[in-house]
């Protein structure tokens, strides 16, 4: 048997979490960080091996009675999200190095590390699973560490936020459970029950059944990658949780939603996908505009960042359901960059809040004069969030736009509007907090600029965003292959090109 790299990759952080039960304190944090770095190495290795076409698939029978398999594989999209996950976790851990020292923290810093590692391991399972039951199990299991991360560290009303998060996610997850049971019933009716995505793809289960199952899965994913109406848990959670937790949540876990839409909704239920597309596109547009307007009016920095994410998830969902190779490539590439960009934004804002002691936008003013490096990083992450050319997120957004153009020229207008609004609310936030007269409170509270550790947190993120912005080809190729495979499975062809294809 070949070396089970994917299993090892997912198990290393989980083992790390278990080790941290026994090793506490400063040593514990160092050990935990070691595990995160090991995972980073393994994840990058897996990504490189994937691009070189190495066979990494693993498949062991898990629960024979219902045909469930312990099956892992990397497709292009999975590889990209694995890469994002392994990059983000060490960054977040470094940013939250002192999380346990805060007087409101319920547990020590090493517990935070353990929970984050556990969540990472489960998220990696989600991105690598090629069995729907395994996917579901890992998907739901991520709730447990996340719940404790939200409930244990952060603002005064975090307990309510944690409950709200959990109930929304459970509702979504359990609806998906019905669909999972339906997959079992549908495959069993064809002969032998199976949860392998490969077996479900192309299965003729009847139009109505497929549509119901599609709705079941889509609902769960729409809670995760919050579409408007199912989103209210996100701003509340982001406001109360620590910025690190929010980064993990929005950066990694919410991607499971868009990931699942492509991996399961599109591939397993192509007919239902096209049936649902008109509604979902409108929903995505409403979502991106709603997110943008709410971000515009937000008074709380963390809520603002979370509303920008809601807006951006709308763009990703739009790209997925526009059903062209370019738009799906764009969405996949945007997932990666959104993860990095949101992380930068959340973490920089977090550093700011930690100094000033409040997330209220009006409490800031002229920070640039006292903390120029902080201001610079905030500007850069903001520019990435608004999709400035030269940043990776621009390429993602542009591909979504370009790919959808021929099929949905009217919808595109709203897409552009959302992007313009993004520029407005990001720059307005920067202007209010950073420029202008230095207020008295700011001078008393914001006494230091970013420390070396804090710079080490944000610099790699910005560097990667710039790298992907100027040299996207290696990753974009992977995304493009994944999108082409998806399109082939769905059985939709691109509209005849009027211009040459991008990239």
């Amino acid at each position: 048997m070949t070396f089970p790299l994917l299993t090892v990759l997912a198990l290393v952080p989980i083992i790390g979490a278990i080790v941290l039960i026994f090793v506490k304190g400063q040593v514990g944090k160092l050990v935990g960080y070691g595990f995160a770095l090991t995972t980073l190495v393994l994840g990058v290795l897996a990504f490189i091996l994937h691009t070189q076409g190495a066979a990494l698939a693993e498949d062991v029978s898990w629960i024979p009675a219902i045909g469930a398999h312990y099956a892992l594989d990397l497709d292009g999209m999975g590889a990209i999200l694995v890469l994002m996950t392994v990059i983000l976790v060490p960054v977040v851990l470094l940013a939250e190095w002192h999380v346990g020292d805060h007087e409101t923290a319920r547990w020590s810093g090493s517990t935070f590390f353990a929970l984050a590692l556990l969540m990472q391991g489960l998220a990696l399972y989600v991105f690598m699973a090629s069995d729907i039951l395994l996917f579901y199990v890992a998907f739901e299991a991520t709730l447990i560490p996340t719940y404790f991360l939200i409930g244990g560290y952060g603002g005064p009303r975090r307990r309510a936020a944690a409950i709200k998060f959990l109930i929304y996610s459970l509702a979504g997850g359990l609806v998906m459970l019905v669909a999972v049971a339906g997959v079992y019933a549908a495959t069993a009716a064809q002969g032998s029950p199976s949860f392998l995505i490969g077996d479900v793809v192309g299965l003729d289960m009847g139009t109505n059944m497929a549509r119901w199952l599609f709705v079941g899965f889509f609902f769960a994913f729409a809670v995760k990658a919050p579409l408007v109406g199912l989103h209210t848990w996100l701003p509340d959670t982001a406001e109360q949780a620590t910025p690190g937790t929010s980064t993990l949540l929005v950066g990694i876990l919410d991607k499971i939603g868009t990931f699942g839409m492509i991996k399961i909704c599109l591939q397993a239920f192509p007919e239902a996908t096209q049936w649902a597309t008109p509604v979902i596109l409108i929903w995505a547009i409403v979502s991106m505009l709603y997110g943008a307007f709410m971000a515009f009016g937000a008074k709380d920095l963390l809520r603002l960042v979370s509303y920008t994410s809601i807006s951006h998830f709308g763009i990703m969902v739009f790209g997925i359901f526009a059903l062209t190779t370019q738009s799906i490539t764009g969405s996949i590439f945007y997932m990666l960059n959104h993860g990095l960009s949101t992380a930068a934004l959340f973490l920089v804002v977090g550093f700011m809040i930690r100094r000033r002691g409040t997330a209220d936008i009006d409490a800031y003013g002229g920070v640039q004069k006292v903390a120029p490096v902080l201001a610079g990083f905030l500007l850069l992450s903001g520019l990435s969030a608004l999709g400035l050319p030269g940043m990776g997120s621009f390429i993602g957004e542009f591909l979504v736009l370009a790919g959808s153009w021929q099929r949905y020229p009217i919808h595109i207008a709203f897409l552009v509007l959302a992007m313009v609004l993004a520029a407005v609310y990001v720059l307005r936030m920067y202007k209010t907090t950073m420029t202008g007269e230095v207020t008295e409170q700011v001078t008393t509270h914001v006494t230091t600029d970013l420390t070396l550790r804090e710079k080490a947190v944000v610099a790699p993120l910005i560097a990667l965003l710039l790298l992907f912005g100027f040299f996207p080809k290696p990753v974009l190729d992977v995304a493009d292959t994944a999108a082409q495979n998806t399109m082939a499975t769905v059985g939709v062809t691109d509209p005849a090109p009027q211009a040459e294809e991008g990239n």
């Binding site: 219902i66 319920r106 579901y136 609806v175 019933a185 009716a189 029950p193």
Partner: protein, 526 residues
């Protein structure tokens, strides 16, 4: 006129080996009562507990031996069906019985006092009671009572005859009525609970007996196969049949704790000594579900369309009442009682599907429900073992406020309790999830997709109150006035806890072997 003396009474033929587990339990129970008269007080506790545990172990060993060696067959002149499901449920019940003995024997948490009254016959608060307390008397009859109850449950789970159904229900209910009334603390509450349980239980049994009589009137047979034949022949009054079905279901649904026959559950669970609550929450439900499936699948299979509708309605109401009423509870035992009602609803969802293994079906309803009962059983026993350990001022502290901050005071116990709560809620990587999945899958295959959807919504509601316990333990700060301390239990309770936690994890991660085993033994014979 028949001369009774001259009519030969045929000697019953008994399959000794097949019935050996039953005889062992009966013998051990009787021996235990006998020993009460001979043994000196000081030695009784140890001897009775060991005897009961040994007897159950032997019965369990014989059951497994028979399961491996013997083909499924009818026994005791067709009164009992010792088939795959019987072996599965017997094993479950006996394992729970072992856990029950361990919890019954627990004395360390309360400073060397058991959870049972020192002298149940004395009036609460009277000088006699104080005298018995002072002399540190205790009832060791609890162990034979438990063994008798187990005997009745095995009988109930393997009955192939409507009359045996009734006899078995009485055999296992009477010891439970008694045990319910024997709590050491809050005795009046305990006695009230016992009385309620007894009165309601008797009425339910009587109604069931009436149903049995109607079925007999319809079919002219008490054998399950006879009823099934009469239904497929299609003669006789349809109303008699439907009436019989309805009334028979009342008795069994009462034992399961399904709405609208659930009213006894919260009071009995709260009043009974906690070991008894844990035991009856699992064992009674297991035996009753086994009997329910046997009677309705085997005897009334021809009426499936009628009772599937009935049970799906009952399942919906049961889940709804259990889950919503539990939300308002502040007492852990009441909360677990309503949770057990909700679980009865989920189990009924599995029963409703009524699919048999075979063409295109790999998990039959029987296997799915048995697996669900197993997962529910281990988590319940574990949870009640922990309830026994959280104490204040000599008694159990059952208010949820006593559980606040438990995660800080005793992280190990808090982690275990969290695990059991997550399993109840059906979160993946715990056994409860696979149980729910199996039950939902079999219900969907039986054509009840809408019921699965309802069940899922109820699961979300139910998750709320399990979370309440988790939140109290991890996220709330203890309050000096209500705080409960965790007492260290004896090794036996630790074993129950360890086995329950391990099973909850293992069945949640690699359930394949057990599911296969159950699936291979899910065929009723008649």
């Amino acid at each position: 006129m028949i001369n009774l003396l001259e009519t030969p009474i045929p000697a019953p033929t008994l399959e000794w080996m097949l019935l050996a587990p039953l005889f062992v339990l009966l013998g051990v129970g009787a021996l235990g009562i006998l020993l009460e008269g001979f043994l000196p007080r000081g030695t009784r506790h140890v001897v009775q507990a060991s005897l009961a545990a040994l007897g159950i172990l032997v019965a369990l060993g014989l059951t497994i031996l028979n399961w491996i060696q013997e083909a499924p067959s009818l026994a005791a002149m067709g009164l009992l069906a010792i088939d795959g499901p019987a072996y599965v449920f017997w094993t479950l019940i006996l394992v729970v019985g072992l856990g029950g003995v361990a919890l019954f024997a627990e004395r360390r948490v309360a400073g060397d006092l058991s959870a049972f009254a020192s002298s149940a016959a004395t009036v609460p608060g009277s000088p006699l009671e104080r005298e018995a307390d002072r002399l540190r008397r205790e009832h060791t009859e609890i162990f034979p009572l438990l063994v008798f109850a187990l005997f009745g449950m095995l009988l109930f789970a393997s009955t192939n005859n409507l009359l045996v159904l009734f006899v078995a229900v009485e055999i296992f209910s009477l010891p439970l009525y008694l045990l319910t009334g024997m709590a050491r603390r809050r005795r009046l509450l305990s006695q009230e609970a016992a009385l309620k349980y007894f009165l309601l239980g008797s009425v339910a049994s009587a109604i069931m007996l009436y149903g049995v009589a109607m079925l007999y009137g319809y079919s002219g047979s008490l054998a399950l196969a006879g009823v099934a034949d009469a239904i497929s022949a299609g003669s006789g009054s349809k109303w008699l049949l439907l009436g019989g079905m309805l009334l028979t279901s009342v008795g069994v649904l009462f034992k399961i704790g399904a709405v609208p026959f659930h009213a006894w559950t919260p009071d009995a669970y709260m009043g009974a000594p906690t070991p008894v609550t844990g035991f009856m929450a699992v064992a009674t439900k297991t035996a009753a579900v086994a009997a329910l499936m046997r009677v309705f699948y085997v005897a009334l299979g021809g009426l499936a369309w009628d009772w599937q509708l009935l049970f799906s309605v009952v399942a919906v109401i049961t889940m709804l009442v259990g889950a919503t009423a539990a939300l308002a509870q502040t007492d852990i035992k009441r909360l677990l009682a309503y949770s057990s009602i909700a679980h009865a609803g989920f189990i009924l969802v599995g029963v409703v599907g009524a699919v048999q293994a075979g063409e295109n079906v790999s998990i039959s309803s029987v296997a799915a429900v048995a697996f669900y009962l197993l997962t529910y059983g281990v988590a319940t026993l574990g949870a009640f073992a922990i309830v026994m350990m959280v104490r204040r001022a000599g008694g159990e502290a059952n208010g949820l406020d006593a559980w606040r901050g438990l995660g800080k005071r005793n992280p190990v116990i808090a982690v275990l309790m969290t695990l059991f709560m997550l399993s109840f809620a059906g979160i993946p990587l715990t056994a409860g999830f696979i149980g729910k999945l199996a039950v939902f899958a079999s219900a969907w295959e039986g054509g009840y997709g809408w019921l699965v959807l309802v069940a899922v919504v109820m699961s979300v509601i139910a998750a709320f109150f399990y979370l309440k316990v988790v939140v109290a333990m991890w996220f709330q700060d203890e309050d000096d006035e209500t705080v409960g301390t965790v007492e260290t239990p004896s090794i036996w309770t630790w074993i129950v806890l360890a086995v329950a936690a391990l099973a909850t994890l293992v069945l949640g991660i690699v359930p394949g072997a057990v599911l296969d085993l159950f699936a291979s033994a899910a065929q009723f014979i008649r």
